[in-house]
């Protein structure tokens, strides 16, 4: 159980894993996530299910190294196991035939978007995707998206596709064509600005939130976000919400909650791993 069957580095600091878990691979739907814990002393972190192969009992997760736990995970090898994998958790995306759909993915959020894109395609939608990253070295899954949609690349430095940020691409597309709905998944600050851009053009937008979480089953309330003025738990009420209804500034502050401790933990880890400067 929870064996890492395949691991590939697909971009700078980004790793693509296939994990053996028959129950997750069988039950997971687009938009859902798992909570993992690496070892006895580890913390519980939520990660999106990026794809599944139910017939082989495998599910996929794409992980960017941002702190201690993700770094530790990136050091695991094929054949190693993850101590705990819980899921699938959260509600699946609302997949229908909407017509013209714009998908916007930033950084590792692109992986979250992938199963949603596939399901939307299958439901008959006409899909356009904007994929953004800092530079071309951080762009992931471009070919996979090209198979199912029109793809527009955006990088901060112009090393791939257009130079700029994803909202520049959204602006361009919204002026050219009519979209019925869009999804944005990526860093919280990106999703906030995607929401503002979609609102400017009157296009409804779904976002997938990734707040701090502990249990992932609605019992701790760590992941609470204000949506339409009400307290919601991202783990059981989400993780997807309508972007227009999210209190973004509050969420951004809550995400910074443990920044100091995260730094202590990561530096301590790097020191013991012999990688500190």
């Amino acid at each position: 159980m929870n064996e890492i069957v395949k691991k590939v580095k697909i971009a700078e600091d980004v790793f693509d894993f296939w994990i053996h878990s028959p129950s997750v691979s069988k039950e997971a739907r687009p938009g859902q996530f798992v909570v993992i814990r690496l070892h006895e002393k580890g913390e519980r972190i939520p990660l999106t299910v990026a794809d599944t192969k139910p017939e082989e009992g495998l599910f996929r997760m794409v992980v960017k190294v941002v702190g201690k736990t993700t770094h530790e995970l990136s050091l695991k090898k094929e054949g190693d196991t993850i101590l705990d994998v819980v899921g699938p958790l959260g509600n699946p995306s609302e997949i229908e035939n909407y017509g013209n759909v714009l998908l916007v993915g930033g950084g590792v959020g692109i992986a979250t978007l992938y199963p949603i894109a596939k399901a939307l395609k299958e439901a008959g939608n006409n899909i356009t995707t904007v994929l953004g990253a800092r530079t071309k070295d951080y762009l992931i899954m471009v070919d996979e998206f090209k198979e199912i949609s029109d793809v527009l690349l955006v990088t901060d430095d112009g090393s791939a596709g257009m130079k700029g940020v994803v909202t520049d691409a959204m602006d361009k597309l919204f002026r050219e064509r009519k979209f019925d709905i869009c999804w944005a998944v990526g860093p919280t600050i990106m999703m906030k600005f995607c929401t503002l851009k979609a609102r400017e053009f009157g296009v409804p937008i779904w976002v997938s939130l990734n707040p701090i979480m502990v249990d992932g089953t609605g019992m701790c309330g760590a992941c609470r976000v204000t949506v339409s003025g009400q307290i919601k738990f991202a783990c059981v009420d989400g993780p997807e919400f309508r972007g227009e209804e999210v209190d973004w500034d509050e969420l951004l502050k809550r995400l910074a909650q443990y920044r100091e401790q995260e730094k202590i933990s990561y530096e301590r880890f790097l020191k013991t791993a012999g990688e500190s400067e």
């Binding site: 519980r44 819980v86 249990d215 609605g218 309330g221 307290i231 401790q261």
Partner: protein
């Protein structure tokens, strides 16, 4: 005969307020024998009727008094699958001990039944090689138990003893439910829970950890693969006051705070990876046992000042007396008749103070308790950098929302027959906090025990409430 309980040694308040070691140290054999002597062995034994699992209390005390510790333990264990837990966390003062004849005598305290239960269970753990025959699986019927808290563990153990094949499904990575995430180490060491759980494993019960029923395993699958289902998922959804500033950083639900500390061992950060904020001035809202646990944990994490803020008074406080006194001794400050109305944050979204209003008590409300009413113009601001809301829980919705046909009551808990645990769905039983709302460990165990008996009656075909 002595008219007072034999005292139990405790860590001194000065030392324990900065460590997570157990507060109460337990009896020595001499102390236990001395206390056992106080039991009158009265013929009416009212204590038994005060116990939700009806332990033969005079019986186990008599064997103890006679020095037959193993026999004493066997009696205990035949009624109660978790005696070391109950000896520590049961509210004996309102259950068995409240009915003790000795306690009714002038100037006398009841027999310390809880302390004796704890002593016998701990003695057995140290001195007995538990030789358990795995009985589960001798019958062909399979029972699924959802949730591994006190209700689920009890139902599973009893059903396994009857020979059923029992699978427990637990969402967390450790079994025990509230015993592992909710109750702090200093009140219930986790090794005690592990010990009791390992006994239940030895009975042949299978534990499926990290498994969320309704998500990982669908309800339909459960109903088709098992002959009966017991739901003991507890009341795990935190309630919030919902006042402005609830989502500021540093405002926790007691559930989150205690889960980080107890289950994830955040008090050992950074050796353990899960972080926790350590406030200097902490306010805990509410005055139940959970509030006491949260306040005393915050103190042990290094808080300089911990307040318990409660809108009523000491008299209406729901916490156990013993826990309240422990909290007082450790230096927790109680602000009675006080209600927070707003949390105030700094520019980075961290809580830095809370505005409160003073209350006065008026005539009794629907709950029979005096109604607290704000005193106009009494507002004041209390400087705090951490707040823990411990104002109660609601039903955990993850399973309930995925369960077709399962009837809920107006408060969102499962509608189940009080005596049998039978729900609206054939073959499905429920018990514990998911039926009653937040209550005690022993009440949940009582419900698990009863449900196990009726699951047995149902599976043997003696009784079927769904046959119409």
């Amino acid at each position: 005969m002595k008219n007072r309980k034999t005292p139990m040694k405790e860590q001194s308040p000065e030392s324990r307020r900065r460590n997570f070691e157990e507060v109460a140290l337990g009896y020595t054999l001499e102390e236990a024998l001395e206390e056992a002597q106080r039991c009158l062995q009265c013929p009416t034994h009212p204590c038994v009727s005060g116990c939700p699992v009806e332990i033969d209390i005079p019986g186990f005390i008599r064997k103890l008094r006679d020095g037959k510790l193993e026999e004493s333990y066997r009696i205990l264990k035949s009624y109660n699958n978790l005696p070391a837990v109950c000896g520590r966390v049961c509210p004996q003062e309102v259950q068995c001990e409240s009915r003790c004849v000795v306690g009714k005598m002038k100037d006398s305290e009841p027999v310390a039944i809880g302390r004796l239960e704890r002593f016998v269970a701990d003695w057995a753990a140290e001195n007995l090689e538990e030789d358990v025959k795995p009985l589960a699986g001798s019958k062909k019927e399979k029972v699924a138990v959802v949730g591994s808290g006190p209700a689920g563990l009890t139902a599973a153990a009893d059903l396994a003893k009857m020979g059923y094949h029992v699978d427990i499904f637990e969402a967390f990575h450790k079994p025990g439910g509230v015993l592992v995430y909710g109750i702090p180490e200093f009140r219930l060491p986790k090794r005690i829970v592990e010990r009791e759980v390992s006994y239940i494993r030895k009975l042949g019960v299978n534990f499926h950890l990290n498994t969320v029923v309704g998500k990982t395993v669908k309800v339909k699958e459960l109903l088709s693969e098992y002959d009966a289902v017991f739901i003991g998922t507890g009341a795990g959804t935190p309630k919030f006051m919902g006042i402005p500033g609830t989502n500021l950083n540093g405002v926790y639900s007691a559930n989150e705070f205690l889960t980080r500390v107890n289950l994830m061992k955040a008090y050992l950060f950074p050796e353990y990876d899960t972080p926790i904020r350590v406030g200097k001035k902490v306010a805990v809202i509410g005055a139940g046992n959970t509030a006491m646990d949260a306040a005393r944990s915050a103190l042990r994490l290094g808080a300089e000042k911990v307040y318990i803020v409660y809108r009523r008074t000491e008299r209406e406080m729901p916490a156990r007396r013993e826990e309240y006194h422990h909290a007082l001794e450790e230096g927790i400050e109680f602000l009675w008749l006080t209600l927070p109305i707003r949390y105030i944050g700094d520019a980075n979204g961290n809580v830095e103070a809370m505005e409160c209003v003073r209350m006065e008590l008026k005539e009794a409300d629907g709950s029979g308790r005096p109604r607290p009413v704000p005193i106009e113009g009494s507002n004041f601001v209390l400087e705090v950098d951490m707040v823990i809301e411990a104002i109660g829980q609601g039903p955990n919705r993850v399973l309930l929302s995925e369960f077709p046909g399962l009837e809920l009551n107006e408060r969102g808990y499962i509608k189940a027959d009080e005596d049998t645990g039978a729900t609206s769905v054939k073959g499905v039983f429920a018990g514990g906090d998911i039926v009653t709302g937040a209550a005690t460990v022993i009440k949940a165990m009582g419900a698990g025990k009863k449900a196990a008996q009726f699951i047995h009656s149902y599976l043997t075909g003696e009784w079927n409430p769904w046959q119409k």
